[in-house]
Structure formats: structure tokens, C-alpha cells
């Protein structure tokens, strides 16, 4: 009898738990809305550099879509996604791939999410891809960089899209820029964080340099500081003592800013030419402290590179963003906004092909596959990996301080076409680089 009574309590507890769990389910899809989950870094080191700018960019676009106030070419497309309002679920991407997979399942199965537009870290994207395919969930990665997503993890994606170029394009564009603008460079070295993104960035840049400038020697002592270490005294000494004049770096966020403070104090940027692959995240914030004369990338035509793009969409975006957050949008803001626009484009197009009725998920996917749509800063061509991987033009330039405007600007900007820096469809990025970048249209 005792045992019975005990298990009775257990059952009670279980029922209580189940009730508590079930309480929130089924709330989400009540109204005629599209539930869009937007995971991005809200806490930790990734937040100020990427996460929060990305959230801000996405929010502005989502609001404008819901009010039907997007400028051309989206001005005549009505309110919402194919007429339905977006209900955005913005949440934190921190905590590693495993936690995010768990959260992904929660959002899909518990909160009835219709699509995901988000994820910044390559690690999270890599972890999410198989699950998104398994759960048949439309997932748009607006930012993450690793080429492995469609080259190794899923070669035949059906539900997962990425709406910007991947990291290989960054390395190629940087090397091409060096070749065009520093033909006599005597050698190059690097300082990259010792984790996946730093290792990948350096590998692609190094491979591209070996192809494009085979006679330029690479240092044997490239620097690999631990990520988030924040102290670069010894590394800066080593770089200043090295004989190579060009330094490649994929540092970002707090690490980048610390490196710049410590390097400036010691005259590193007068002595060496720095090439920062994602430093656009910090230029506005650093203001005059940003090292003028350094070569800069923004992983595409985003952020500061789009400062003078004269389209209604871009001018509107920059104005709304700057007014609201009192700083211009950076790369992450553009990229996240571009991801949301991809959803807007796909839902509207699918609806028009469906006779104006709200489209099914498969119709939305079909509409986005292989599409070309207008991002904030540039045209996005979804023409790699069966139409799931985007290619856009790429830009690299030299940072300068504009005295008149009192802000940072890009000078000596060089543009690279999408088919110049991205590997051709169906070709593995690393092999493409090693094979001499055959088929690149520059």
C-alpha cells in the first residue's frame, strides 16, 4: 500500500509537470501569423560585435514588413509575409552547438515556429543544419561563414539556406586585393584566434595567396592567440620583429578592439600593413581610434562599404538604423536584414505563384531556390549548392578618416564579382583554391 501511495504521488507530480509543459504549447499558431525564430547572440562576447547589430537590423526589417513600409523594390508587396504578420521570437544563441540544437527542437516542436532566420556562429550553423533537415524546418542562415555547411555537412540541402557568401570568398577577395594593390609585398604573416573561424580564415587566405602570389613567402611564425584572451603584448612584439610587412587578421569584437588599442600604443600600425577581414564590426565604434591605412573587409558589400550605395532601400535602412541606435549599421545588421528579406521575397513570390493564396512550405522553398533577390546593399544570387547558397559581390578597401564628415570611410575600394570570389557551383572551396581557382570570372 505504501508503494502504491508513493507512486500515486509520483503520478500526480508527473501530471502536474505535463500540465505545466503543455500550457505554452499551441499558443503560438493561434492567429494568422508566421512565427519567425531569430536566434542571435544576445549575451557574451559575440553580442556587441555581431549579435546585437544583427538583431537590430532584423527587427527594423521585420517591423517594416509587418507595416508594409519597405521601400522599393519591396514597396508594392503588401503587409507581412504573403499577407501574414511576422511574429518574431528573438532569443540567445550563446552556450554552444549542443544547447542550440536542443533549443531549436524546443522552438519547432513546442512553440510552433514556421521558419528560422538566424545563427551567427559557424559552429551553431554546423550543428543546426542536420537537425533542420531532419525536422524539415525552413532555416535561413544570414551570417555564419564556414563553407562546410554545404560542402561536407549536407551536400543536398532541402530546407537550409545561406543568404551570404561563405568564408572562402573572403580569403579569395583579400588575396586578390593584395595582389592588385601590393604587387611587391615581401611576405605575409597572420594573427588569428585559435578556434575554428580563425583557423579557417587563415587557411583560405593563405591558400589563395599561394595561388595568386606563389613567390611571396609566408611567415613560419603566424600568431595564434587564444580566443578572448584580450592580451596581445607578446604577439605584437613578435609581429613587430617579424620581417613580413603584411599581417592578416580575422580578429573581431572585443579581441580586435583590444589588439588595436595595444597595437596603436606601440606603433604597430605604422610599422606593418594590417589586413582585417571582419573589422568593419568595430570601425564606427572605434571612430578615430580605428587604424587608418589598414586594409578592411566586411565579408561582402556590407556595413561601411554600403555607406554610399544610393538606392531607396539602403538609404532608408541606414537612416532608420542610425536614428534608432545612434550608430550606422554594421556588417551583421546588413546580413541579418538580408536574411529576413530573403524570407519576404520567397513568401511573396510563392504566394503569387500560388494564385495569391498563402503558400505551403515547399512552395516557399521552391521560390527561394536559385532565386535572385535584392538585399539592402547588393543583389543576392542563390545559385550555389542547388540554389541554397548565395553568392554576392565582395568588397575590400583601405580605412581612412574623413575629416569633413568626421567619420570613418573606405578608400581605394575594389569590387569583386560573385563569380570571381565564390567557387563555382558544385566545387569544394578548398579544392578549388588548391587547383588554382579554375572557372573564376573576374
Amino acid at each position: 500500500m505504501k508503494i502504491l501511495r508513493k507512486s500515486g504521488r509520483a503520478t500526480l507530480l508527473a501530471t502536474g509537470l505535463a500540465a505545466a509543459l503543455g500550457a505554452t504549447a499551441g499558443l503560438a499558431n493561434a492567429a494568422e501569423t508566421v512565427v519567425m525564430a531569430v536566434p542571435t547572440f544576445l549575451t557574451g562576447a559575440g553580442a556587441p560585435a555581431f549579435g546585437v547589430p544583427a538583431r537590430n537590423g532584423a527587427e527594423i526589417i521585420i517591423e517594416a514588413i509587418n507595416k508594409g513600409k519597405l521601400p522599393a523594390p519591396y514597396n508594392n508587396s503588401g503587409k507581412g509575409l504573403a499577407g501574414r504578420q511576422i511574429q518574431a521570437l528573438i532569443y540567445d544563441e550563446s552556450g554552444g552547438g549542443v544547447k542550440q540544437v536542443a533549443e531549436f527542437r524546443n522552438k519547432v516542436q513546442k512553440q510552433g515556429v514556421d521558419l528560422f532566420v538566424g545563427y551567427i556562429s559557424s559552429g551553431t550553423c554546423a550543428a543546426i543544419t542536420p537537425v533542420a533537415e531532419e525536422l524539415k524546418m525552413l532555416t535561413i542562415f544570414p551570417i555564419c561563414g564556414t563553407p562546410r555547411i554545404f560542402e561536407e555537412i549536407d551536400k543536398n540541402p532541402k530546407y537550409v539556406f545561406r543568404t551570404m557568401g561563405h568564408a572562402t570568398a573572403d580569403g579569395v577577395a583579400e588575396a586578390m586585393y593584395v595582389k592588385a594593390n601590393m604587387p611587391d609585398v615581401k611576405g605575409y604573416t597572420g594573427i588569428n584566434q585559435n578556434y575554428a573561424w580563425g583557423q579557417d580564415s587563415w587557411r583560405d587566405f593563405d591558400l589563395a595567396m599561394k595561388q595568386l602570389m606563389p613567390n611571396v613567402p609566408v611567415s613560419e611564425k603566424t600568431q595564434w592567440p587564444k580566443i578572448f584572451s584580450g592580451q596581445y603584448g607578446a604577439e605584437i612584439s613578435a609581429l613587430m620583429l617579424s620581417k613580413e610587412p603584411l599581417v592578416h587578421s580575422s580578429l573581431w569584437g572585443g579581441d580586435l578592439e583590444a589588439f588595436i588599442f595595444q597595437g596603436s600604443a606601440r606603433g604597430l600600425f605604422r610599422k606593418k600593413k594590417l589586413l582585417f577581414s571582419v573589422a568593419d564590426t568595430s570601425v564606427y565604434r572605434l571612430g578615430k581610434k580605428a587604424p587608418a591605412g589598414a586594409i578592411l573587409g566586411a565579408r561582402g558589400p556590407y556595413g561601411i562599404f554600403a555607406a554610399n550605395v544610393d538606392t531607396p532601400l539602403n538609404k532608408w535602412f541606414r537612416k532608420v538604423y542610425s536614428d534608432r541606435y545612434s550608430t550606422p549599421p554594421v556588417g551583421g545588421s546588413y546580413q541579418a536584414a538580408q536574411g529576413v528579406l530573403a524570407a519576404k521575397y520567397a513568401y511573396d513570390k510563392a504566394a503569387s505563384m500560388n494564385g495569391g493564396k498563402f503558400p505551403s512550405k515547399d512552395q516557399v522553398i521552391a521560390a527561394l531556390e536559385g532565386a535572385t533577390f535584392q538585399g539592402i546593399a547588393a543583389k543576392v544570387h542563390m545559385n550555389r549548392s542547388n540554389g541554397h547558397q548565395a553568392a554576392t559581390k565582395h568588397m575590400i578597401g583601405v580605412l581612412a578618416w574623413d575629416k569633413e564628415a568626421g567619420g570613418p570611410i573606405m578608400t581605394k575600394v575594389q569590387e569583386f564579382g560573385p563569380d570571381c570570389v565564390m567557387p563555382p557551383p558544385g566545387v569544394n572551396g578548398t579544392e578549388w583554391l588548391k587547383g588554382g581557382m579554375k572557372g573564376a570570372k573576374c
Binding site: 544576445l42 549575451t43 557574451g44 562576447a45 553580442a47 556587441p48 549579435g51 546585437v52 585559435n194 611564425k221 603566424t222 600568431q223 595564434w224 592567440p225 587564444k226 578572448f228 584572451s229 584580450g230 592580451q231 603584448g233 607578446a234 604577439e235 612584439s237 613578435a238 613587430m240 620583429l241 569584437g253 572585443g254 579581441d255 580586435l256 578592439e257 583590444a258 588599442f261 595595444q262 600604443a265 606601440r266 606603433g267 565604434r285 572605434l286 581610434k289
Partner: protein, 298 residues
């Protein structure tokens, strides 16, 4: 030769950094036997407070060198406030519990404080580079060093010596040693252990905050800086021997100079230096290089 000197300087600067970020942890552990994970929060709060005060200071027309006062003021404010609030408000209720419960409680405090930090200062980074810019640079063996980082060496020496002398040469220090040696007997002899604990915790918290406050001008004060410091300071303290101030100093020197040598000679292995030294020390002398002797309980 030039390289050797540069390695030595870089190594000393990094060692001083390590010592400054780990000394607060050592002080608290040495006396109270509490492994304080919230130490990372003291560091982060110190850095944010320092950046805020420095920013405010340089908005005024006061003499430029006064900015340095802001650093120490920040450490004092944070250390005293959090030291008293956490020790009196929370930890004292847990002294009779298992030590790992206390560790976990400080871990919980760390989680909470991480978010409190964000509620106060938001996610945007803060800069406070003025003190570093103010001190300028100096050339040693034909290489430019920034003076601010070099002053870190001086600070570490002063703090290390001060704490060590305070512990071995003053009456207060002797009381502390008595408490460290045997808490119950000390109490029986009339030492007010409660006050000793509170003061120690506050001193440790000030030290933790001072680490962050002094480093703040050289970094971007942004979310997540506290987490890194926890791992780093644990490693230094484990290597040096938990709770020993000379140990923390030797541990910091060992790691700092080896790391600088690795950066200059074999940058590929930089990440491993600290782990490798830790593994080596653990394998040979797992209680750390300078660990105080432990009595077995009977």
C-alpha cells in the same frame, strides 16, 4: 639577444597580468578555503566601473593624471560593495556546508552577476584608453613598448609584496595565519573570525576588481571578459599552490614567461602552454608548487 630581452619583457608583463587577475582568488582561498568563481565577476565589474569612471573623469577639465585615481577608486567601490554584500548577505550562511556547495554558490553568483552587469551597462563595449595613451611609449632594444603595460609589472610587485608583508609582518597578518591554521582554536583564543572572514573577502574582492580596473584601459570592456579570467586565474592558482601568494607569483611568472617564449618561438603551441605547465605540475606535484601542508583528519 634582442629576442631574449623582448621575451623577458613580454613575459614579465603577461606574468604581472596573470598575477593581478589571480591574486584576489588566492587571498580568498588561502584564508577562507573558498574557491570563488564570482572572482570573474569582480574582475568584470572592476573593469566596467573603471571604464565608466575614467570616461567620466576625462569629460571634465581636471588634470590628466588624475585618471589613474579613477582606476583605484573603481576597484575600491566594487570590492567593498560586492565584498560586503556577498559575504554578509550570502556566503556566511554557507560556511558550515560542504566546500563544493560554496563553490557552486559562487558559480551561481557569477551567473547572476553576469546578467546584472548587462542590466547595468548593456552589451555595448566601453573604452577607457586615455590612461594608456597618456603614458605614451618607450623604446627598449629598438622595439616600442607602451609604458602603461610596463607599469603593470610595478603594480604586481607592489601588490604582491604588500600582501606578503601584511600577512607575515603585521599583527593582522598573524591573526590571519592563525585562522588559516585552525579556525576553531583561533575562535577559542578570542580572535573574531567573523570579522577576519569579512575583511579577507573584501580584500580579495578589491584585488579582483583592481585586476579588471587596471586592465580596462588596455582592452575593450565588453560582455564575457569575466569568464576568461576565471579559467586563467584557476590555472595560475593551481600551478602555484592554492592559497599561496608567493605561489601565485611563481605560477604567474612560470606561465607568463613560457607563454612569451612560445609566442616568439613556437606560436602554434601558445594555446597549450598554460595547460601543459599545469599538467606537468599536476603530474609531479599535484598540490601545486607552493601549497601549504595539509593535515589529515583523524
Amino acid at each position: 639577444m634582442q629576442e631574449l630581452i623582448v621575451i623577458l619583457i613580454d613575459g614579465l608583463v603577461f606574468s604581472s597580468y596573470l598575477f593581478m587577475v589571480s591574486v584576489g582568488l588566492t587571498v580568498i582561498f588561502g584564508v577562507m578555503k573558498i574557491l570563488n568563481v564570482a572572482h570573474g565577476s569582480f574582475y568584470a565589474f572592476g573593469a566596467y566601473m573603471s571604464a565608466t569612471l575614467i570616461g567620466a573623469y576625462y569629460n571634465t577639465d581636471l588634470p590628466e593624471f588624475g585618471g589613474f585615481l579613477a582606476i583605484f577608486l573603481a576597484a575600491l567601490i566594487i570590492g567593498v560593495f560586492f565584498g560586503i554584500v556577498l559575504e554578509r548577505g550570502l556566503l556566511r550562511f554557507l560556511y558550515h556546508r560542504d566546500e563544493h556547495i560554496i563553490v557552486l554558490a559562487t558559480f551561481a553568483m557569477f551567473l547572476v552577476l553576469e546578467d546584472v552587469l548587462m542590466m547595468i551597462w548593456g552589451t555595448d563595449p566601453y573604452y577607457a584608453y586615455e590612461p594608456m595613451a597618456l603614458l605614451g611609449a618607450v623604446d627598449i632594444v629598438e622595439l616600442t613598448f607602451d609604458v602603461y603595460s610596463l607599469t603593470l609589472i610595478g603594480l604586481a610587485v607592489i601588490v604582491g609584496l604588500g600582501l606578503w608583508l601584511g600577512l607575515t609582518r603585521t599583527k593582522w597578518g598573524k591573526l590571519l595565519l592563525a585562522v588559516i591554521f585552525d579556525r576553531e582554536i583561533s575562535q577559542a583564543m578570542g580572535i573574531n573570525v567573523t570579522v577576519v572572514f569579512t575583511v579577507t573577502f573584501v580584500v580579495g574582492a578589491i584585488m579582483g576588481a583592481l585586476g579588471g580596473a587596471y586592465i580596462a584601459p588596455t582592452i575593450s570592456v565588453s560582455p564575457g571578459i569575466g569568464v576568461e579570467v576565471i579559467v586563467l586565474s584557476f590555472a595560475v592558482v593551481v600551478i602555484g599552490g592554492m592559497g599561496s601568494i608567493p605561489g601565485a607569483m611563481i605560477g604567474a611568472l612560470l606561465v607568463g614567461i613560457s607563454r612569451a617564449a612560445a609566442v616568439h618561438k613556437f606560436p602554434e603551441i601558445e594555446l597549450f602552454v598554460i595547460y601543459a605547465i599545469m599538467a606537468l605540475v599536476l603530474a609531479i606535484r599535484p598540490e601545486g608548487l607552493f601549497a601549504p601542508a595539509q593535515a589529515r583528519k583523524i
